[in-house]
Subunit: 351 residues, 2 copies
Amino acid sequence: MSNKVLEHIAWKEGKLHLLDQRLLPQQTVYRICVSVEDVVESIREMYVRGAPAIGISAAFGMVIAAGEALEKGLNEKEIREYLVQAGEALNGSRPTAVNLKWAIEEAGHWLASNENLSPQDIYRGLEKLAINIFEEDIINNRKIGFNGSALVPQRATILTHCNAGALATGGYGTALGVIRAAVEEGKDINVLVDETRPLLQGARITAYELVRENIPAKLITDNAAGHLMSMGKVDLIVVGADQIAANGDAANKIGTYSLAVLAEYHGIPFYVAAPLSTIDLNITSGDEIIIEERSPDEVTCLNGTAVAPEGMVALNYAFDVTPAKLITAVITEKGLAEKPNREKIASLFEA
Amino acid sequence: MSNKVLEHIAWKEGKLHLLDQRLLPQQTVYRICVSVEDVVESIREMYVRGAPAIGISAAFGMVIAAGEALEKGLNEKEIREYLVQAGEALNGSRPTAVNLKWAIEEAGHWLASNENLSPQDIYRGLEKLAINIFEEDIINNRKIGFNGSALVPQRATILTHCNAGALATGGYGTALGVIRAAVEEGKDINVLVDETRPLLQGARITAYELVRENIPAKLITDNAAGHLMSMGKVDLIVVGADQIAANGDAANKIGTYSLAVLAEYHGIPFYVAAPLSTIDLNITSGDEIIIEERSPDEVTCLNGTAVAPEGMVALNYAFDVTPAKLITAVITEKGLAEKPNREKIASLFEA
């Protein structure tokens, strides 16, 4: 599924159209964001999810903010102040996806390096930047796919967790980009999809992408991954990332760390596929990554119905951190960081 | 919750009353089994689950079979043949829980060692045996609890998977028996409960038992266990078993193996609590254990609603095997098998 086929993010006449991914695969409903608050809520409530897709949405959120400032008739200085506040609001919508922070910083850099702008110039400049971030993301994912596919044998069963696919990005996907590229190169690929509790992005979204493209895939509970590895039924694992620290430690959907430990135990390669925009060189190591805790209701309820008894408390960490030592390679648009460490991550930015 | 408080298995006037555990915690509905076929279906469809509880139900299933034979006016020889067939039907209801096979063998042994019986003698003898298996199970679980509690520090966070509680057994529980005993001894215990996809026995049943007894507990997704271990928030893990081989390899709910690997990686003790009736000395190692595959619908649907897209295939292994080398100790009513192996398992039967 290219972004062309299913427009999960679309910028139309100053409005951001976001496919409501919470309702997939049963319903295809769009939320039309006309205010910064709409974008903040869409990110926080996970209408849109996946670090790169969140970054893209935030970039358009900044354009919408510029539009709001225009309508208010603010002058350039006031617009710049308004945009700083909008950036902070967007940044606060979710804590772990670093592409969010990155996209807002990109807007900030553009504003800082362009002075004496008319309000219209600001709007058009930010719009051009957002579209560029969107388009670049898809291009980068194709490069990630190409670079990652080189690591995939001619015949392989690949396990993935959560959704690091077209819908988590501008299009094509990171982890699913690697799988797509391998399939496009004619390799014989089978995919094992972790359902990925609590929000089931694997069962709902990754499965949706793979079924649409007729890529052979089987859904499993997260509990079954270890068993399948022990039976020799997993050749490699590839996941996305929400944030990668300067030393290569990677935050991703809760359960990723368990997979990495299991992969290590079974001698199975464990790959993290992500664009450079997911790497935050200001974060020294995984210890500094903020792990979002979400509502316990995501664990205690299914489809809005309580499964746990009344009075049962739940913990709901949305992410975990996989240390670099458990990662066989980080796959980026600039190439691989095999056995990632501080130097190898830094060198990606020099490539 | 003792068995007295919530009668999940009750034998009343020749009928087996089984709490429908599929509906917990929302509904408390009983299925009244009046035929062998009722019992077979109740085991297969998981009205009753948990290896010891399945064994107890099967023992009563044999009594019901004797009652059916009585009603048909069969003679002793015909009754014995009828009971062999009933035993085979019960045995085929689920493949992994060895207590099922064990309970039917116990009935077979009793029949083999008692000749020239009236039909009424057969009925009363099997009834006495079933009640004895039921009562012994609770007594054994208290012993398992006592033996296991000796391994629990004065203050501990204990992670458990699935439900190896009162409801999985005659009462008191195996893994939860260890937790109950530690609490009864005044230890400061917190429990982390894996929700245990696909059928959520952790979220539905273990949580239910713990909330009823005010034992401090938090529910987590199965994905969160590794993250919590990496944060040093798990002191020990205790689970039940559906079958233990002669060498100490243990089959238990899918996901148990992953926990054992994670425990090994983090240096966390990993205990399996089960009665001797769960150990099958005829099974040489875990390689011989038959792993039940259940309907893919358990993975693709939640509360009867599809979560995965149409056309998505799912694998649904109900159990996995944890090799003995990953088990710190098997906790039984006859004591511990620490670092279990063939000799230590055998010696439990000599105790």
